[in-house]
């Protein structure tokens, strides 16, 4: 009995189990406190959709063998540049979203390529180097946002200040462009169809890629570099490919996130973006060496749902920014757990 229990535990994984239990307990709590369930459910769906692509960006990195991509802010910044350019030239609606994608994707390919070259020089330390490369680029970009020659009054400080604002509204450009596409209600729960479809579309692309020849090669290179080498696979090239894909997905991911959020946040906004995304995929059951689309879906749903329910619940029970603390403890705790239980090494 005990053995079977531990076997079941191993299969589910401790993070998934704990967060799942949290979710159940919180939902019961919310039901007891009579919090509006339909609103919570709508929020869960939206939060799932807006974060899922950023979490998806972890997959190519893990599969290519570079571990969790803590350099995610690099891709995020590419996405932000795309968005800022789209707003500067006063595009609106779907066009602005496409322009933002069109600008940011090539930028992300280039950034990912350079970042991949860099990661090939420091094999084994990708995560810490990635973190600090990300941090330094984010803080370097702070200077860029301050000095960049943008003129659209929606984005620059109205008077007195210089440079772009901290948060830029997307009202005139692509606010909720995906969320509202084909959106409908079931009862009082709103389904953000476009958002979910877009995520599903990206999952499908990634799935097709992983079935392709280079997708397979990347997987082999990531899981067993020596073996890959002996099969004639260029491991370094595959690692670069994984990094490029991850960076591109991060750029797309932040645009999806922003269109749902309704604002861009520049300056230090992207600084800590990698950690919740990493935590989500780990909660889903991924490890530093293995990740699937299923992990992304389960993890993002569990993590975001728990946060959605926790926040109003904590507001009723205790004062202060408790849900922020809760989020921080969970996301860092889960990453720590993954770092210190490296069975597969």
């Amino acid at each position: 009995m005990k053995e079977r229990l531990t076997a079941a535990m191993d299969k589910i994984g401790l993070p998934r189990l704990i967060i799942g239990l949290f979710l159940i307990v919180f939902c019961v709590g919310a039901a007891i406190l009579k919090l509006p369930m339909s609103m919570l459910l709508s929020d869960m769906l939206v939060r799932f959709g807006m974060n899922a692509v950023l979490v998806l960006a972890m997959i190519p990195a893990i599969r290519a063998g570079t571990g969790l991509n803590f350099g995610l802010p690099l891709g995020v910044i590419c996405g932000l540049i795309g968005a800022v350019v789209a707003i500067e030239y006063k595009f609106s609606g779907l066009t602005s979203f496409l322009v933002a994608l069109g600008v940011s994707i090539p930028l992300a390919v280039l950034t990912g390529y350079l970042y991949g070259l860099l990661l090939n020089r420091i094999k084994g330390q990708e995560m810490v180097v990635g973190t600090y490369v990300g941090f330094s680029i984010v803080s370097g970009m702070c200077i860029f946002w301050l000095l960049a020659p943008f003129h659209n009054p929606e984005m620059v400080w109205a008077y007195g200040g210089t440079g772009l604002r901290n948060t830029i509204t997307l009202e005139s450009s692509f606010d909720k462009i995906l969320n509202n596409f084909l959106a409908f209600n079931i009862g009082q729960v709103q389904i953000p169809t476009g958002l979910l479809l877009f995520f599903a579309f990206l999952c499908l692309l990634l799935w097709f890629f992983s079935r392709s020849k280079s997708g397979m090669a990347m997987h082999v290179a990531g899981s067993n570099p020596r073996f890959a080498q002996s099969c004639g696979i260029n491991v370094n090239k595959m690692r670069i490919l994984g990094t490029v894909l991850s960076t591109v997905l991060a750029a797309v991911g932040i645009l999806v996130y922003n269109q749902s959020y309704g604002f861009l946040s520049l300056y230090n906004g992207p600084l800590m973006m990698a950690f919740p995304a990493a935590a989500a995929i780990l909660i889903g059951g991924a490890s530093l060496r293995r990740a699937t689309i299923g992990h992304v879906i389960i993890g993002t749903f569990l993590f975001q749902s728990v946060l959605v329910v926790a926040s109003p619940l904590f507001n009723v029970i205790v004062e202060g920014s408790f849900s922020e603390i809760f989020r921080g403890i969970i996301s860092n705790g889960v990453i720590l757990y993954a770092l210190t239980t490296g069975r597969e090494e």
Binding site: Y132, G328, N332, L339
Partner: protein, 358 residues
């Protein structure tokens, strides 16, 4: 004759290699020396002010940077989790502020209270890092973040509700949670003022604090010559060989982290007694980042660090810290750009040196 020539050639090539190595080692400090020079030129600060600021920072900061040395020697890289040491120090300060123990006695009592906490935190960090061999740096960094949230949970939610604490100076008006800033008037500059020499108006030297820093530099040098110090070095050079020669590797690594954490706790105390106010939820957050950046600017790498690099790095990093906002304002008319720049430098130098040495 031929043999001699060969010998000479070999010697000279060894020499050039050595010079090249030294140059590479000195490249980062030299670069920052140049940066400081340029910054100082544009900042146009009065020399007395600048020197006073530098001396003050050379007194209050090096201990936090010194705390990093031993884990580096132990082969564990940069211990970003000295954040936990800083927290231990702050726990000491919160307690003495609560009981209103003032002056140098207060500071000493704070150190006494902080030490067992630091040992405990160091032990936990060490245990954790032993489970993440080869990934120590990222693990210590994430552990620092994690601990920061636990700190918030504890002092925002538990203090005043679960842990009884009533002191208007400390607790928020709601009765739960510590205030954002805590005035440390009771112990403000109690160590600095123990022996302070005023050279000219606006320039004083906190001799007592500098002596404490010097004492710790000597102690660490001495410590590295003891049995435990040698074991730490052996573990740092090669864990396998150390294990075969009978060293309990895991235990030695835990010792290294405990020492680092305790030093960080005391370092945070010295730093905060000079600042005079505790930013309850912020003072410890950047400690790891700035200490690591300072050490690396001094020319250290993640595998090699010396006391001279600590001192040089602290000097260069903090000079840049004083100068860059002023230089930024004078150059572009915006002080914020200097602020961004120095954060960029702190992160950037860590990224670049990791790239060079990892």
């Amino acid at each position: 004759m031929m043999a001699m020539k060969l010998e000479l050639a070999k010697n000279s090539s060894v020499l050039t290699v050595r010079i090249r190595q030294k140059l590479i080692e000195m490249a980062v400090p030299l670069l920052f020396l140049v940066l400081c020079g340029i910054g100082a030129y544009f900042a146009q600060l009065s020399p007395v002010f600048l020197i006073n600021e530098i001396i003050m920072r050379m007194a209050r900061n090096p201990l936090l940077v010194l705390a990093l040395i031993i884990p580096v020697v132990a082969g564990m890289g940069m211990n970003f989790a000295i954040t936990l040491g800083a927290m231990a120090g702050q726990i000491g300060l919160i307690i003495i502020t609560h009981y209103e123990i003032n002056g140098i006695t207060g500071l000493l009592v704070a150190a006494l209270i902080a030490t067992p906490f630091a040992v405990l935190f160091g032990y936990l960090t060490g245990k954790l890092l032993n489970r993440a061999k080869g990934k120590e740096m990222i693990t210590s960094m994430i552990f620092g973040f994690f601990a920061n949230y636990v700190w918030q949970l504890f002092f925002l939610a538990f203090v005043g509700s679960i842990i009884p604490m009533r002191n208007e100076k400390l607790i928020l008006s709601t009765g739960v949670g510590l205030r954002n800033t805590i005035d440390l008037a009771g112990i403000r500059q109690s160590l600095d003022n123990l022996l302070k020499i005023q050279v000219v108006q606006g320039l004083s030297i906190p001799v007592s604090t500098l002596l404490v820093v010097a004492l710790f530099c000597v102690l660490i040098t001495f410590f590295m010559k003891t049995k435990l110090g040698q074991d730490i070095r052996a573990v740092g050079q090669n864990m396998e060989i150390a294990r075969i020669s009978g060293i309990d590797v895991d235990r030695v690594r835990i010792y290294a982290i405990i020492i680092s954490t305790v030093l960080a706790a005391w370092g945070q105390l010295i730093w905060l007694q000079n600042i005079g106010t505790l930013n309850t939820y912020g003072s410890h957050v950047q400690v790891g980042l700035f200490a690591v950046a300072a050490l690396l600017i001094g020319g250290a790498s993640v595998t090699k660090a010396t006391i001279w690099q600590v001192l040089l790095g602290t000097f260069l990093f903090h000079t840049l810290f004083i100068i860059s906002p002023v230089a930024g304002r004078n150059l572009v008319g915006d002080a914020q750009i200097g602020e961004f720049f120095r954060v960029f430098v702190a992160y950037g130098v860590i990224a670049v040196t990791l790239l060079l040495h990892a």
